[in-house]
């Protein structure tokens, strides 16, 4: 077996389809820039900066260095032998994004955007967060760069993720509870947009997922694509061939697009995005717009949404705060329509079972978000042969979720 060489975070591999989005941020009919006029100028400014610095060798070298020495990249690709054996089918490899600094893939993007903010002369960053992972990752880079940081979080999520709230505060961020609407991630995003429109001169808005107005879906993808680039190289080095299937959970979809993107042209590599099925798709209480939603416009882009017949956004439900979002990144909408990726749903109970299974079998405690991808892998692996390979994106670690798990199972800590 060959030792895996370092994979450049920002080097474009031949496999990557660089045609999308178009100049105005469209992935087919999806994406675009649907915001109030006040934000159009700032978004144009951001797009120019992002396009410039993603070609700037000095910026890229700094980003690579931060990803290596601060984030701890490359993250390992781990062969989960006991779990594979137990499932009795394909060999399962876990892309260990849970081992990144702050415990999830979110930091890849916040490091990139914060460096960009710094270059653009912005002194204040704002972020929205659901599970709190993106909020923590934003507060972390803000502390490191000496930037003021305000994180918007739904009051419902603040209750579910009190440990992450405290982490953000320890890092010096101000956490603002959002009481509007369903008091979850979508409302936090609305509130962050309102802050941005008010303080646009000195403020950089770090969106945590591949949604929002152009250039965010493309920019966040470009900062997360390091996941897939490393995976491709590591898988080749370890096994001599590419994976047969990729599995990742999809809320907004940043960890999934990061893994999928460098494989889009490898037509033999199947891709599975796993949405939050909540109480079950048939109950209507879920967060699976690609499985059971319809196209519409929210948060600056056109994509699949959970909406009613009058175009109002409906409340979502998931055991995992990070997947509890009524939209999805526009590139996933496009990959669904083109058939390049398949989107499935896993309900709360299945995700919880997978959480326990991986913890007990491999000694790795996954985030409840990532547990959705693991639960689908438990269905997929037995249908595949022992010489086939599945790579699952283990997008975050589960420490933040133990309270949720305990409450759900009637255990008091």
């Amino acid at each position: 077996m060959q030792k895996s060489g370092p994979v450049k975070a920002v080097e474009v591999t031949a496999n990557e389809e660089m045609k999308l989005p178009d100049a105005r941020g469209h992935f087919g009919p999806y994406g675009g820039r649907f915001v109030a006029e006040t934000l159009m100028g700032p978004l144009e400014e951001l797009t120019r900066a992002y396009e410039r610095y993603l070609k700037d060798p000095e910026f890229l070298a700094e980003l690579d260095s931060e990803l290596k020495h601060y984030v701890g990249r490359p993250s390992p690709l781990y062969h989960a032998k006991r779990w594979s054996e137990r499932l009795g089918g394909a060999q399962i490899y876990l892309k260990r994004e849970d081992l990144n600094h702050t415990g999830a893939h979110k930091i890849n993007n916040t490091v990139g955007q914060a460096l960009l903010a710094h270059r653009m002369g912005k002194t204040r960053i704002i972020a929205e967060t659901g599970a709190g992972q993106h909020g923590v990752a934003s507060a972390t880079v803000a502390a490191k760069l000496g930037l003021e940081c305000v994180v918007y979080m739904g009051s419902e999520d603040i209750k579910r993720q009190s440990v992450n709230v405290f982490r953000m505060k320890l890092l010096g961020a101000r956490v603002v509870a959002v009481e509007a609407g369903s008091k979850t991630l979508k409302d936090a995003l609305n509130e962050a947009m309102r802050d941005w429109v008010t303080n646009v001169d000195d403020t950089f808005y770090i969106i945590g997922t591949v949604a929002g107005p152009h250039p965010y879906p493309a920019m966040v993808r470009d900062f997360q694509v390091v996941i897939g680039r490393e995976t491709r190289q590591q898988c080749l080095d370890m096994t001599g061939h590419l994976p047969d299937a990729l599995v990742a959970c999809v809320g907004g979809g940043s960890n999934a697009i990061g893994l999928f993107y460098p494989f889009i042209k490898d037509s033999n590599v199947r891709m599975y995005g796993v949405e939050a099925g909540g109480d079950g798709i048939e109950t209507g209480r879920h967060a699976a717009p690609l499985n059971a939603g319809s196209p519409g416009v929210l948060h600056g882009n056109r994509t699949y949404l959970m909406e009613d017949k009058n175009g109002q956004i409906i409340d979502t439900h998931s055991i995992s705060a990070g997947l509890d979002y009524p939209g999805v990144g526009p590139e996933h909408a496009w990959l669904k329509d083109t058939g390049r990726a398949r989107y499935v749903a896993i309900n709360d109970d299945e995700a919880l079972a997978a959480f326990h299974n991986l913890t007990r079998t491999e000694g790795i405690m996954p985030a409840l978000e990532s547990s959705h991808a693991l639960a689908y892998t438990e269905k997929l692996a037995p249908q595949m042969s022992r010489d086939e390979i599945i790579v699952v994106n283990l997008s975050g670690r589960g420490d933040k979720d133990i309270q949720t798990v305990a409450v759900r199972e009637g255990i008091s800590l």
């Binding site: 006040t38 159009m40 429109v197 519409g296 600056g300 909406e307 109002q312």
Partner: protein, 268 residues
């Protein structure tokens, strides 16, 4: 014919300025919206901006967010809003009505269907806050087909390049957002806005309305000095929030408030 154009032409002839109140349809309940619109006209409104409630009003401050929430408690839909406008038109053929809101309810109804039904209901113009001109071509085709105006926002961050683009697509009037922020957030700086309006005027012949941050008669009067229309939203919606339970007083109060603004704007 365009009611909006006629309205501005008539005002122009006598040196008057338009008073444009905003209310959210269905706030606090769908039954009161028609009498409220009639009260606005009695109080001196030249054009009515009627808000279409949306679950995620990203560009609005707390006052208008809550008005949307109250309207949605009664499930006020775009269909309901069009029905209200149709009822208003039975008695009023003159006062233009501009629907203001977010794209998604229109997107879900379908652009052609929306334009056709809005026109049948007697709507005159449409302002979708999250639909910039870059994304509006398809809707614009549909609106043009039914002679509906499309109003666009201008803001302090709008570059000259964008100003040219927006002016080339807009019809009816332009809506200048007087400050960076959400609706109802602050008081505007009259001198800054006056300078901006004079710059915009050098680029277009369209009437220019000013909104955001106009909370009282004095500001309304000052803004009327250099714009073509004074748009009042949050300050009015806040009154509706406070008097929502007392419908008779609400109608009376709104009429009196509009009359105050009207008098201030018209004062020689």
């Amino acid at each position: 014919m365009s009611r909006i154009k006629d309205c501005f032409d008539n005002l122009h002839k006598c040196g008057g300025k338009a008073l444009v109140p905003f209310i959210t349809a269905g706030d606090p309940d769908p039954e009161i919206t028609l009498p409220l619109m009639q009260a606005l006209v009695r109080g001196g409104a030249d054009i009515i901006e009627l808000g279409v409630p949306f679950s995620d009003p990203m560009a609005d401050g707390p006052v208008i967010q809550r008005s949307s929430e109250r309207a949605l408690k009664h499930a006020t839909s775009l269909n309901d809003v069009l029905r209200i406008v149709a009822n208003f038109r039975k008695e009023n053929q003159k006062t233009p009505v501009v629907l203001m809101g977010y794209l998604n309810p229109v997107e879900v109804m379908g652009y052609q269907e929306f334009a056709k039904r809005a026109s049948e209901a007697g709507v005159d113009g449409v302002l979708l806050v999250d639909l910039p001109p870059e994304e509006s071509d398809e809707l614009q085709l549909a609106l043009n087909r039914y002679d509906l105006n499309q109003v666009f926002l201008l803001s302090p961050t709008t570059s000259d390049e964008r100003l040219a683009l927006i002016c080339s697509k807009a019809s009816g009037f332009l809506y200048y957002v007087s400050l960076k922020g959400v609706t109802g957030s602050n008081r505007l700086n009259v001198d800054d806005v006056a300078k901006k309006i004079s710059h915009i005027r050098s680029k277009t012949g369209l009437p220019i309305g000013v909104g955001f941050g106009i909370k009282d008669a004095a500001t309304a009067r000052a803004v009327a000095g250099f714009s073509d229309a004074v748009i009042v939203g949050s300050a009015l919606v806040e009154r509706i929030a406070q008097l929502g339970e007392h419908k008779d007083r609400l109608i009376e109060d709104v009429t009196v408030y509009l009359t105050e603004l009207r008098t201030a704007i018209d004062a020689p």
